[in-house]
């Protein structure tokens, strides 16, 4: 970025951080000072390509590559005329062909290929489709509408959340204050000893805390209808996809033992299962340190 500079006076951004680069329709840069100096009369020729330019058409350069600035400028102009929407075409394929055609025009104009013809084509198109252009100018494309909608939703969500948090805090504060006041009142009036009252208060405070916790957990955003559809959303009329899911069916287990049958409870002792595996000597058993 720092190495960008004015091609005429050779000032760079590095040397003069406040340098402002300007660009005109031809896509060549000049710094603000040079523009002021060269175009005192309001019009003149480009230093690099000799295109006649007007001073009022100079813009601050937004991008590092001035050709992109130029292209965007041209594109905006072209799109004002070529503003058909996808529903103006019988099929998507034709719409895509149309889009490519627009793209071609922009490409030609930016790269100075066949400029005259292209301009003629544009004018002709404009004449032919005047009504359509006028009509489409007022409406946004579907995608943009969607975007706007999303943005609106987002804004509302944020606002609502902020309010909710605020209210919640207020409520909690009040509840706590009330609790404290109640304790003071009781201490003043009750006959019970203070320790019991304090203990009660402690329990109450804990309950309050848990209540608040629970409330926090159950807070649900209210921007949904009970059907699960977002409020203020355009509802699509497509059928809701059905979730096919086989429910888990519990089958009682059937134990296949790969061995003899398991002994009954009372048999266990008889068969010696409960005996210790260690065979202790008489002496050990007598010592009482081991059992069995």
């Amino acid at each position: 970025m720092d190495d960008q500079g004015c091609p005429r006076c050779k000032t760079t951004k590095y040397r003069n951080p406040s340098l402002k680069l300007m660009v005109n329709v031809c896509g060549h840069t000049l710094c603000e000072n040079c523009v002021e100096m060269l175009f005192v009369r309001g019009s003149g020729n480009c230093v690099q390509c000799d295109t006649p330019l007007r001073k009022s058409n100079f813009r601050v350069q937004l991008f590092e590559d001035p050709t992109v600035d130029k292209e965007v400028e041209i594109r905006k102009k072209v799109l004002k005329i070529y503003n058909k929407r996808d529903f103006d075409f019988p099929s998507l394929r034709e719409y895509n062909d149309y889009l490519e055609q627009v793209e071609d025009i922009v490409y030609n104009l930016t790269n100075n290929i066949d400029v005259e013809n292209t301009k003629l084509r544009m004018e002709q198109y404009q004449r032919e489709n005047r009504d359509l252009i006028q009509r489409n100018k007022a409406t946004l494309t579907r995608e943009q509408e969607e975007l706007e909608e999303l943005l609106l939703l987002e804004q509302q969500g944020n606002e609502q959340r902020r309010l909710e948090v605020l209210q919640e805090e207020q409520r909690q504060l009040q509840a706590k204050r009330k609790n404290k006041q109640a304790l003071l009142d009781e201490l003043e009036q009750s006959q019970l000893p203070a320790t019991i009252l304090l203990a009660q208060h402690k329990v109450r405070a804990a309950q309050l805390e848990t209540q608040i916790e629970q409330q926090k957990q159950t807070v649900k955003p209210t921007n949904l209808f009970s059907t699960g559809i977002h409020m203020r959303q355009t509802v699509s009329l497509m059928a809701v996809p059905k979730v096919e899911e086989v429910l888990y069916h519990y089958k009682p287990l059937q134990v296949k033992t790969y061995g003899p049958p398991v002994p009954e409870l009372e048999q266990l002792g008889r068969l010696g299962f409960l005996n210790s595996p260690h065979s202790y000597s008489l002496l050990q058993r007598m010592s009482g340190l081991v059992s069995g």
């Binding site: 991008f63 490519e100 999303l150 926090k216 287990l253 033992t257 595996p277």
Partner: protein
């Protein structure tokens, strides 16, 4: 031993089994029966891997049509190798018991870097270089060019594999990475492509998370894996972060500059090709007009795993006319790039949502949402058409195009944060655009949708219910198992105060406090005097560690500690750290042992085990909260609150405690191991923190060890260590192998009738007991 798990015959390669392993298998079996997903927690060192493997393989053998494949995802190469070794043991046991050679094929898969056997390519150091070089030898058009020009370099292993390798399937057996390489060398086939091809028909695949979760890699490797597979994510306590990282994009000034070069190269190549071989571009154009039908058919017939970068809408439509021809697309990329550059030129932090970004990009450079959505796919097509050999070079522009597709596809779950400089260095301009994913469920959703059972398991997954919430799935089983111990070999202590009664805490207000730092120092000093062999100490961050160590040095504490043990420090440099680790282990083997100072969330805390004398005590200085001022984290917390009703504090605590548990869990890697776990922060004593530790640690924290001073902790530790130092016979901890003994040890051992009966039942089924009963 043979086991009966609810009617399923399971071969278990060891002669004894822990009760928790049995219950683990039981839960696992139920999950598989229900064809659902499960979350299972079991402490490390209790044989989680072998339980998993033996049950799932038994299930596969019993119901070969229900479960066709096991996909075992682990984190690192050593872990993958460990799994394969266990598997080998199991398979040997199978063939010994059944007497027939089974036809199971199990193999590990890793990157080209670990599998390449080409003499030149495999000698390269970085994974990216290996990939790029390999691609430049094996890409389809390179090989096509070789027909006309035989002088081009060639990878003979790949050629050989391509010629014959696909006809002959890999013989059944268990292959780890080295086995694959050996096999490849013997046959002269490329092991990497062989493995990638073989995973399609293998019964068991062991590989890294990224092969399933990273959309770019998953699309290459895993998209054809069968639906009836069981997917296991082992050590999955960090799985949400892996998901998020795989979907997030960070764009710096350098990325954009490299991208600019890429775009220029693209343009030049297009010019060249237009002059020489215009038909190729026309062919591509025709294909794009037709639309991405092939991909669509494949997805509809359910052959492929869905790819979050390639949303469904794209497949049903043709590429929009604006980016159909190559020049227009390059122009489009250029505009997009310039727009990003202008966005990176900000002076202050910007945070915006995807819709805001899209609106702005339309206003500034007239780019619609639709072409953006097709950007990634269109670029891939162009790269294929232009036959550019070195794909690695084009990583920058691929990244940008992925970003374009993601930002236009998902209006929720992502946020864009542009920071002009790093927080630590506010004077140095280093603009970064973080396109950060906040919803881990986006990346993992295809996995849950596609595979019939997904098991998430680790030693530390507490609290269990948070994982289904943040990953957005419905598990059929959730269970946490504890460790049955013959002796209490772990001793968690919460040290809340110093000897001078100053509260110990790493919280922001007190972290600079001299008293706290001194008390931490005293704790380490006293412990270094009584603990034999190795001590590992974890700090909450590198900065905090540096500060503390510096002030310990000034106070002379370090010198005192060094009288007892050597000190090693983990740094951010990986090579330095592994050196320190090596020396630490050497020091533990000799003499008085050593202390390793490391950082929670660092390399040491995640993958390194400190078995036996390498870690007799772990000290956790402070609670390892993440850096809460980070904007990405804040955005994520907000999202969690709004979408999943998880409060900020809950998530932060959960995250801190899972890391703390990971750190202290490093010391206990088995039942014969023992170790102290010292939590040096008074906040650990609170119920909300303590309750989020895994059950097997929580069980051993009693009320007496909640708010200790350093002195008290030392007394308890001394007592514990003295007890542990007594000779310890294996027989008592684990049921003996001999039949008769086995039964009664189980019964006597736990003393609980129900438990005893179950084990009894178990043991009966093991054949060794037959004689005894008869």
């Amino acid at each position: 031993m043979k086991l009966n798990i609810e009617g399923l015959l399971v071969y278990f390669p060891y002669d004894y089994i822990y009760p928790e392993q049995y219950s683990y298998m039981l839960e696992l079996k139920r999950t598989l029966d229900a064809k659902g997903h499960g979350v299972l927690e079991m402490p490390s060192g209790t044989g989680k891997t072998i339980s998993l493997l033996s049950l799932i393989i038994a299930y596969q053998r019993a119901f070969p049509l229900e479960v066709t494949k096991l996909i075992y995802c682990s984190r690192t190469v050593p872990e993958i190798e460990k799994v394969i070794e266990e598997l080998r043991k199991l398979m040997e046991f199978y063939s010994k018991e059944t007497g027939e050679s089974n036809n199971f094929l199990a193999l590990a898969l890793s990157s080209r870097k670990n599998l390449c056997i080409h003499p030149e390519v495999s000698s390269l150091r970085f994974g990216k270089e290996v990939d790029g070089k390999c691609h430049s030898l094996t890409a389809s058009y390179i090989r096509a060019q070789r027909h006309s020009n035989p002088n081009l370099p060639v990878c003979r292993f790949y050629e050989e594999f391509d010629a014959v390798g696909r006809q002959v399937p890999l013989p059944p057996g268990v292959y780890n990475l080295d086995d694959l390489k050996d096999f490849g060398r013997r046959k002269g086939w490329c092991p990497y492509y062989l493995a990638r091809y073989s995973i399609l028909h293998a019964n068991i695949v062991v590989y890294s998370y990224h092969y399933l979760l990273d959309p770019k890699i998953a699309d290459l490797v895993s998209k054809e894996l069968a639906k009836k597979s069981v997917v296991v994510f082992d050590e999955a306590h960090n799985i949400d972060n892996v998901c998020i990282d795989s979907m997030s994009v960070n764009i710096t000034r350098r990325t954009l500059d490299r991208c600019q070069n890429n775009v220029d190269t693209l343009q030049n190549t297009i010019h060249k090709i237009k002059e020489t071989d215009a038909a190729k571009l026309r062919e591509e154009y025709r294909r794009l007009v037709e639309g991405l039908k092939e991909a669509n058919v494949a997805r509809e017939t359910d052959i492929y795993l869905a790819n979050p970068v390639l949303p469904d809408e794209i497949l049903q439509e043709a590429v929009p006319g604006t980016i159909r021809t190559a020049e227009h697309f390059v122009g489009f990329l250029r505009r997009f790039l310039e727009y990003l550059k202008s966005r990176l030129r900000v002076q202050h932090v910007v945070q915006e949502s995807a819709p805001q970004f899209l609106k702005d990009i339309f206003d500034k450079v007239c780019i619609d949402r639709k072409p953006l959505r097709f950007c990634a796919e269109r670029l891939q097509s162009l790269l294929r058409t232009l036959e550019i050999a070195d794909i690695a070079d084009f990583s920058a522009v691929t990244l940008i195009s992925n970003f374009a597709t993601l930002v236009s596809t998902y209006s929720q779950g992502f946020t864009i944060i542009i920071e002009p400089f790093e927080d630590r260095t506010p004077t140095i301009a280093n603009p970064v655009l973080h396109f950060s994913c906040m919803d881990p469920s986006i990346a993992i959703k295809p996995v849950f949708q596609r595979f019939q059972s997904v098991i998430i398991t680790s030693g530390t997954l507490s609290p269990l219910d948070i994982y289904p919430r943040i990953l957005d799935f419905r598990p059929v089983t959730m269970a946490s198992f504890t460790m049955t111990l013959a002796r209490t070999c772990l001793c968690p202590l919460i040290v809340g105060r110093g000897n001078d009664q100053v509260a110990l805490s790493s919280k922001f207000e007190t972290r600079e406090d001299f008293a706290v730092i001194r008390n931490y120092g005293n704790l380490l000093l006293e412990m270094s005097a009584i603990v034999p062999d190795g001590i590992v100490a974890f700090f909450t961050s590198y900065v905090y560690m540096e500060n503390i160590v510096a002030s310990w040095y000034e106070q002379g504490i370090l010198e005192n500690i060094q009288r007892n043990k050597l000190i090693f420090i983990e740094t951010q440099d990986a090579a330095e750290t592994s050196m320190a680790l090596e020396k630490y282990q050497e020091a533990c083997e000799n003499g008085r042992g050593a202390i390793l100072l490391s950082v929670a969330r660092g390399k040491v805390s995640e993958g390194i085990d400190f078995v036996h004398h390498f870690g007799r005590a772990v000290i956790m200085f402070g609670v390892p909260y993440v850096y809460t001022q980070s904007r990405i984290l804040k955005a994520r917390l907000e999202y969690l609150r709004d979408q999943f009703q998880i409060r900020e504090n809950d998530f932060l605590t959960f995250d801190a405690m899972r890391h703390a548990a990971q750190c202290v869990g490093r010391a206990i890697r088995g039942k014969t191991d023992y170790g102290l776990m010292i939590f040096a922060d008074k906040r650990y004593a609170r119920a909300d923190k303590r309750g989020k530790l895994p059950r097997w640690i929580q069980e051993h924290i009693n009320d007496g060890s909640l708010n200790l001073t350093v002195d008290e902790a030392v007394q308890l530790a001394k007592h514990f260590l003295r007890q542990m130092a007594q000779p310890f016979r294996q027989v008592r901890s684990t049921p003996a192998t001999k039949g008769t003994e086995q039964v009664s040890t189980f019964v006597v051992w736990k003393g609980r009738w129900r438990h005893g009966y179950r084990c009894l039942n178990l043991a009966f089924q093991s054949q060794q007991l037959n004689n005894f009963v008869a």
